[in-house]
């Protein structure tokens, strides 16, 4: 009798384990999916899902269920969806995040619950420095580095006088500061325009009158499309070298078209990379979505590759947090950017490149790699992070 009871208990105890083997691993995906910035989040999601679907709905050999949530570019909404994912859905991993202000709003709520945060876009400076957490793994870049590489390029080009323009908000000032960090010449003027200003006639006239050696801009999304088109309409294209960060990206180029030709942009990856992982990624993405993948898709694809490698290493047991953390930190995967490794603050140490907007082999407007001013580059905040 007692023996039978024991067997029964054993069977019952093993039931949850059996059920767990059936239910897929839940992963939250939080990004901007609505409004004019929705294209950004969509590219992040498409890049991530490309690998999940290629693997037949699995990451690291384990079936996964991706719970997609829209943070609507509102910090309060982002907090709600994160809370829902963690408390109701009990996800051990949250991927994505598009804007720095949203990242700052949810970073603490996620990491202090010991949920793994795989950031595939925003890299604000506080979480790279003093506020870093061992549960964060940012596979994209630290914000400043995207501008630092352009500053270094301007330095190497020997420009003496540069005028910088950006929207009048924190990120705008951060990117201009990033540009200035490695550029030794003079930034003769910093022009900050209201975030909702779409007509740049006054600023372009000032620019034409100043005749600097080059112009540096940070105008993400629709702002960048408007600025670049008006820059060309004003007859400045080709006369003034136009250096940029997050302005001539894969999402904006289809709208900027010829107006962007010759523009310089700095980031970590471009669709013309020759390594096999990147080539396969670009080919698959274009086949599926009929467009050139943006860097946002590439970042998220790398995020999926990272999870794939780490989940495989712990054989799906992400509940063993120290082991899973070590597996993520090891970052044992082939990235679209070639090699990949994490710094002490769980941001990548990577080469930063400069691209020129040019026509690709098929005659489409795309990004062409022209230089690699920063090799194995670390962000300037990693020393402030207490992680080893």
């Amino acid at each position: 009798m007692i023996r039978r009871l024991c067997v029964l208990t054993a069977v019952m105890l093993s039931l949850p384990a059996l059920v767990r083997a059936e239910t897929p691993l839940k992963i939250g995906f939080v990004a901007e999916f609505s409004g004019p910035q929705g294209a950004l989040g969509q590219d992040q999601f498409d890049g991530f899902m490309l690998l999940v679907e290629r693997n037949g709905g699995k990451l690291g050999g384990i079936p996964v269920q991706i719970l997609k949530e829209d943070s609507q570019l509102k910090p309060d909404v982002a907090n709600q969806v994160v809370q829902k994912l963690i408390e109701r859905e009990r996800v051990p991993i949250i991927v994505g995040l598009t804007f720095s202000n949203i990242m700052m709003a949810v970073h603490k709520p996620i990491t202090e619950k010991e949920v793994f945060l795989i950031g595939t876009n925003a890299g604000p400076s506080p979480i790279a420095g003093a506020q870093c957490s061992p549960y964060q793994f940012i596979v994209s870049w630290q914000n400043d580095t995207q501008a630092e590489v352009v500053g270094q390029y301007a330095q190497e080009k020997g420009y003496k006088k540069v005028v910088a323009l950006a929207p009048n908000y924190q990120a705008g000032k951060d990117f201009v500061a990033g540009f200035r960090r490695l550029f030794k010449g003079e930034v003769t003027d910093e022009i900050y325009t209201p975030l909702n200003q779409l007509d740049f006639s006054a600023e372009l006239t000032q620019l034409a009158a100043r005749k600097p050696d080059a112009v540096f801009i940070f105008y993400p999304g629709a702002l960048g499309i408007n600025f670049v088109r008006q820059f060309q309409q004003a007859g400045l294209l080709g006369k003034l070298p136009l250096l940029s960060t997050s302005t001539a990206d894969g999402l904006n180029l289809p709208a900027q078209k010829e107006a962007a030709l010759g523009m310089i942009s700095g980031t970590f990856w471009g669709p013309d990379f020759a390594n096999p992982v990147s080539r396969q990624f670009v080919e698959d993405f274009e086949k599926k979505f009929k467009r050139i993948p943006s860097q946002y898709a590439a970042q998220s694809f790398d995020g999926a590759l990272l999870l794939d490698s780490a989940i495989a290493k712990v054989r799906g047991n992400v509940a063993d947090k120290p082991a899973f953390m070590a597996a993520l930190k090891a970052a044992n995967f082939k990235s679209v950017r070639g090699s990949f490794r994490f710094n002490n603050n769980h941001f990548p140490i990577q080469d930063m490149h400069v691209f020129e907007v040019a026509k690709d082999a098929k005659g489409r407007i795309s990004l062409k790699t022209v230089a690699t001013p920063l090799k194995d580059h670390q962000d300037p905040y990693h020393t402030l992070c207490s992680l080893k």
């Binding site: 609505s34 409004g35 004019p36 929705g38 294209a39 009048n168 910093e190 022009i191 900050y192 325009t193 209201p194 909702n196 200003q197 779409l198 007509d199 006639s201 006054a202 600023e203 006239t205 000032q206 034409a208 009158a209 629709a222 499309i225 408007n226 088109r229 008006q230 309409q233 004003a234 007859g235 400045l236 709208a255």
Partner: protein
């Protein structure tokens, strides 16, 4: 050199001004004549831009795009006025604000569903591509074209209001609507006509702005706020007021944005000037409006009664 820059910035200001004028003309007439606050005027601007962009993309003819933008928003204005807004003329301003705010939400959502959340872009029409040389500074040909269109519309409106029978009725309707009604004029039809005319001009403004700025849901609201500043500054109900008010607002905004940060740099430390400059520049038009309201509450160019 700096004189040329100043002149170019004035030109930029005039260009913004005429665009604002096209938008404010309808707003001020509707406000002045029907005593009706139409917040959804910006939606007509947005939809005009969408109609024009769709026609331009489909046919490649900018002239057809103009027809589509003005015609489309004229028709839409007529329908909205007859179906929804005409019932609200007798109601309080708060009801009107509420109803037309609701219309904004509806139109923005319709635009989002129809054309998607991302922005739509159209190119500058072929003959207007490029820049002309203004004494060493290049100026976009298309912006000159906008100024030309705006001034032409202003002249045409002036003639319409002051030299035609219809204009006489509009002026009379603005001053003493009951008397005009008693004389056998169909006021409802007059109102609808004025409303549709304003809608068509808003649509035209939307199309003219489209090759410069992105066409996107919600594009009408920021510019509507500036248009309200224009009609308050110029004097409500007056086309002349809308014209001069728009030019003042356009020039103050542009010249302020261009020169205020530099001016502040002469007086303040660079970092303080950098922080205060853009903030003060974007407030400037509101400061002008506040000044006008304090000194001349009826606006700079009010309607002449009697």
């Amino acid at each position: 050199m700096s004189v040329i820059v100043l002149l170019t910035q004035l030109l930029n200001g005039v260009q913004l001004g005429v665009l604002l004028f096209l938008l404010s003309a309808g707003l001020t007439l509707v406000f002045g004549i029907m005593n009706f606050i139409n917040l959804s005027h910006g939606s007509l601007y947005m939809l005009g831009a969408y109609f024009g962009a769709a026609a331009y993309t489909a046919t490649g003819s900018f002239l057809l795009a103009v027809v589509a933008a003005t015609g489309g928003s004229l028709l839409l204005g007529l329908i909205v006025e007859r179906v929804a807004l005409a019932r609200l003329y007798a109601r309080e301003h708060l009801d009107q604000v509420l109803a037309t705010f609701g219309l904004i939400l509806i139109f923005n959502e319709v635009a989002r569903v129809t054309w998607g959340p991302s922005s739509v872009y159209i190119d500058v029409p072929g003959t207007l591509v490029g820049a002309v040389d203004l004494l060493g500074l290049s100026y976009p040909r298309y912006r000159l074209f906008i100024i030309g269109v705006g001034v032409a519309v202003a002249v045409a409106l002036y003639l319409l209001i002051h030299r035609t029978r219809l204009g006489m009725l509009i002026r009379a309707g603005a001053s003493v609507p009951t008397m005009v009604g008693a004389l056998g004029v169909n006021l409802a039809r007059l109102n609808a006509l004025v409303f549709a005319l304003g809608a068509a001009l808003a649509g035209l403004a939307g199309l003219l702005a489209a090759p410069l700025m992105s066409v996107q849901p919600g594009m009408g609201e920021p510019i509507l706020i500036v248009a309200l500043v224009v009609i308050v500054t110029g004097g409500i109900g007056s086309i002349r007021g809308a014209f001069y008010g728009a030019l003042i607002v356009g020039i103050v905004d542009t010249v302020g944005r261009a020169f205020l940060p530099e001016l502040l740099r002469l007086m303040l430390s660079p970092s303080l000037a950098r922080a205060a400059g853009p903030a003060l520049a974007s407030m400037l038009i509101y400061l002008v409006m506040a000044g006008v309201l304090a000194l001349r509450p009826q606006g700079l160019f009010p309607v002449k009664h009697g």
